[in-house]
């Protein structure tokens, strides 16, 4: 073995790598996690450099778990780039702001009679807004810029519905249960989604919680004023029990990742699914002939319209400590302008965050874009549930689906964790 050769090679490499060029002031660095948008963003970065002479250095870190770890670690060592994203709950965004790592962009967004702000979809801006008197104690303002929006709804397979003799998608929960029976009679699995992933359970359950007890009562529960053992919450848990007992769920739904659920729906292994606007891309690439439609989940309480979970899909924040802050903001402003937003939307089939672009690209996911007005998201709620309570809630629902626990038992357990966490907070 030529050890000397290897050694020489190593040292050359280390020497080259060790003295990487210091960032010029005419360059902004962006860390992102969006694998599907890398090409479009790269093309735009080049265009931006041609137009303005500012070089945009794009670095992709995927999957999102690795990205989050990277951001957490970099925040500790104060080596965050000029532009990055925080893929976490709003309370974590608040901590970043309080640590001086995220710039307040209110001034820029509201300049010229809020020209920039009003060009964006309001729900998506709200996700990054801390209102006056917010629970996190952050100075009120807007701290991030949405670059696209999403929402999560029910999708249905027209071919399979027809096979079961169903002519239109169910509007009410009763219709839905009838459809489940009809589908089962013809040997079709009714419903698939990624219940192996906590956030989908959370999303599905809170859609029904909002529908059955109204937003105020849900928020009151989060504040600790209403207990999870309340009959209304028991009813929410019972939705899962009813569906599971009816055999509505595809076999193995509680350990299914959303990617596998999307695969199942695309390959027509189930008639209904619950998925986000990004899934359209996946259905298209896996089965272009898939005949499907989109609607909100069937409501249980007909008096309240079903809310749709959604809002900002991806948002960028600007590093407050960055010497290139003004340039970074200018780039984000350019990125969310109509022309660039149309480009991203058409290239990647994501819903644009720019209102004019949403109108200009009617072909991009029309059914999803219609629902943007009904969207809601934890980031715009006045209160959020504690993460440990949410985990107990979601895992409890899995237990209900596999039939090992009753809704009442799960409600009791969740409330126990809630009491413990409330006590802990009171002590601090």
């Amino acid at each position: 073995m030529k050890i000397s050769t290897i050694l020489v090679l190593c040292f050359c490499f280390l020497a080259v790598g060790g003295c990487s060029a210091r960032p010029s002031t005419n360059q902004i660095e962006v860390w992102h996690w969006m694998t599907d948008r890398q090409d479009a963003l790269q093309a735009l970065a080049q265009k931006y450099e041609q137009e303005t002479g500012v070089k945009v250095k794009l670095e992709l870190f995927a999957p999102s778990d690795a990205y989050t770890q990277k951001i957490t670690a970099a925040s500790q060592a104060n080596v965050l780039p000029d532009i990055y994203g925080i893929l976490d709950k709003k309370s974590i965004l608040a901590l970043f702001i309080k640590s001086g790592l995220v710039a307040d962009l209110t001034e820029e967004l509201e300049a010229d009679h809020a020209a920039w702000e009003s060009s964006l979809i309001p729900k998506a801006v709200d996700v990054n807004r801390f209102p006056v008197g917010n629970k996190d104690g952050v100075p009120p303002g807007i701290y991030g810029v949405p670059i696209d929006v999403t929402n999560i709804q029910m999708v249905y397979n027209n071919t399979l519905l027809k096979k079961a003799g169903l002519l239109k998608p169910p509007q009410t929960f009763g219709d839905f249960l009838t459809a489940v029976d009809a589908l089962k009679r013809v040997g079709v699995s009714p419903f698939v989604t990624g219940f192996g992933e906590m956030w989908i359970i959370d999303c599905f359950a809170s859609n029904y919680a909002f529908n059955m007890m109204g937003e105020d009562k849900v928020m009151a529960t989060f504040r600790g004023e209403v207990k999870y053992t309340d009959p209304d919450w028991i009813k929410v848990f019972s939705v899962f029990q009813t569906l599971a007992r009816k055999g509505a769920f595809i076999e193995g739904i509680v350990t299914k990742g959303n990617k596998y659920a999307e695969q199942d729906f695309a390959l027509e292994r189930a008639a209904f699914s619950f998925d986000g606007s990004w899934a359209v891309n996946i259905y298209r690439s896996m089965n272009p002939r898939l005949d499907y439609g989109i609607s909100p989940l069937p409501a249980i309480n007909p008096d309240r319209p079903m809310k749709v979970w959604g809002g900002a899909g991806s948002s960028f924040v600007v590093n407050a400590a960055s010497p290139n802050r003004a340039k970074a903001v200018a780039f984000l402003k350019w990125l969310t302008a109509e022309e660039q937003q149309v480009f991203i939307a058409e290239k990647t089939n994501n819903l644009p965050a720019n209102r004019a672009a949403m109108i200009a690209t009617p072909k991009v996911l029309p059914d999803f874009s219609k629902a943007m007005d009904q969207t809601t998201h934890p980031s715009v709620w006045p209160v959020n549930e504690d993460a440990l309570v949410t985990e107990a809630f979601d895992k409890g629902i899995q237990s209900i689906i596999i039939g090992e626990k009753t809704p009442e038992a799960v409600a009791g357990e969740v409330q126990k964790i809630k009491d413990r966490e409330m006590k802990k907070k009171a002590e601090q």
Binding site: S189, G252, V254, T255, Y260, E391, K395, Q398, Q428
Partner: protein
């Protein structure tokens, strides 16, 4: 131990041999670990100021049944791996130690699972263990096979039944890892002096007697290495679990590493996550000491 007197004086010189390892180790392991212990006494969401809480994280864990269950789960996976994976590795190594055809082929092929990316393993086993039905046909390979050979009553939702999920994970894990045991044990088997077998045969020993009296004692050091590697690999398995059951089947498939990552990235409780890492690390150290003791005793026998 051989050691002539002037070498003994050279204790410092001898220590220099360990110094590079010791330095790398101190900087990249011991110091971060000290930091880890320090964080474990705090409540900290991963950013911003830390809040000292003393032993509260540990107290909370002491009564946390989910946490202790997760350790049992890892223990269960390890136990199955120790028995199934190593029995498989050992018997394959024994079979390949003979002068058989395609020996080279086998010893290459058995090393494919360890080489394969977890991504491929995850996608593939998800397909094999899938429980869905389409047009009256089982989608999953295993269920499809069971239906074909006439055991439709064995068809099962393998990964989402608490009774089978953990065992399935352990089996896939064993399948992925037996290649390591196989190459180490095969290398060990091939170093056994064939004359020892000859001598035993002359004494009239049966195959089984030879196996127990010659093969096993000669292989003891190798077996210990494989056992330690198996425990190490099985106690820390998590990529495979995530790729098979995502966030888990309620709490039935939680293992310490997924719980630690959950408290870190899911609920942003770095202090708790560090306390879990400290407890789990300490337990594993205790296990490795017990093993060391055990192997010393085996050597004496």
């Amino acid at each position: 131990m051989l050691l002539n007197p002037d070498i003994r004086k050279d204790a410092f010189k001898n220590f220099l041999f360990v110094l590079p390892a010791f330095m790398i180790f101190t900087v990249f392991y011991i110091l971060p670990f000290m930091n880890l212990i320090w964080i474990s006494f705090h409540s900290w969401p991963g950013i911003g100021p830390m809040h000292f809480v003393g032993l509260r994280n540990f107290q909370e864990l002491a009564t946390d049944t989910i946490w202790w269950d997760s350790i049992w789960h890892a223990g269960y996976i390890t136990l199955i791996a120790l028995i199934f994976q190593n029995a498989l590795a050992f018997s394959l190594a024994l079979a390949c130690d003979r002068e058989i055809r395609m020996k080279r082929f086998y010893s290459v092929v058995f090393f494919i699972p360890p080489i394969l990316s977890e991504v491929v393993v995850g996608i593939l086993w998800n397909w094999i263990l899938n429980a869905g039905v389409q047009n009256g046909q089982q989608v999953g390979l295993l269920n499809h096979f069971l239906a074909q050979i006439g055991f439709p009553n064995l068809i099962h939702s393998w990964l989402s039944d608490p009774k089978t999920a953990l065992t399935c994970i352990a089996v896939v894990h064993s399948w992925k890892g037996f290649g390591w045991g196989f190459i180490i044990l095969l290398a060990g088997l091939q170093t056994i002096d064939r004359q020892l077998y000859e001598a035993a045969r002359v004494d009239g020993a049966t195959s089984w007697r030879m196996f127990w009296n010659v093969t096993i004692p000669m292989m003891m050091p190798m077996i210990m290495v494989v056992v330690i590697l198996t425990i190490l690999g099985s106690m820390q398995v998590f990529v495979l679990i995530v790729s098979l059951v995502e966030n888990g089947l309620a709490h039935h498939t939680d293992v310490p590493v997924t719980v630690i990552l959950g408290s870190m990235h899911g609920s942003k409780q770095f202090g708790l996550a560090c306390a879990q890492a400290v407890i789990f690390g300490t337990m594993l150290i205790a296990v490795s000491f017990a093993l060391k003791k055990l192997s010393n005793r085996v050597k004496q026998v």
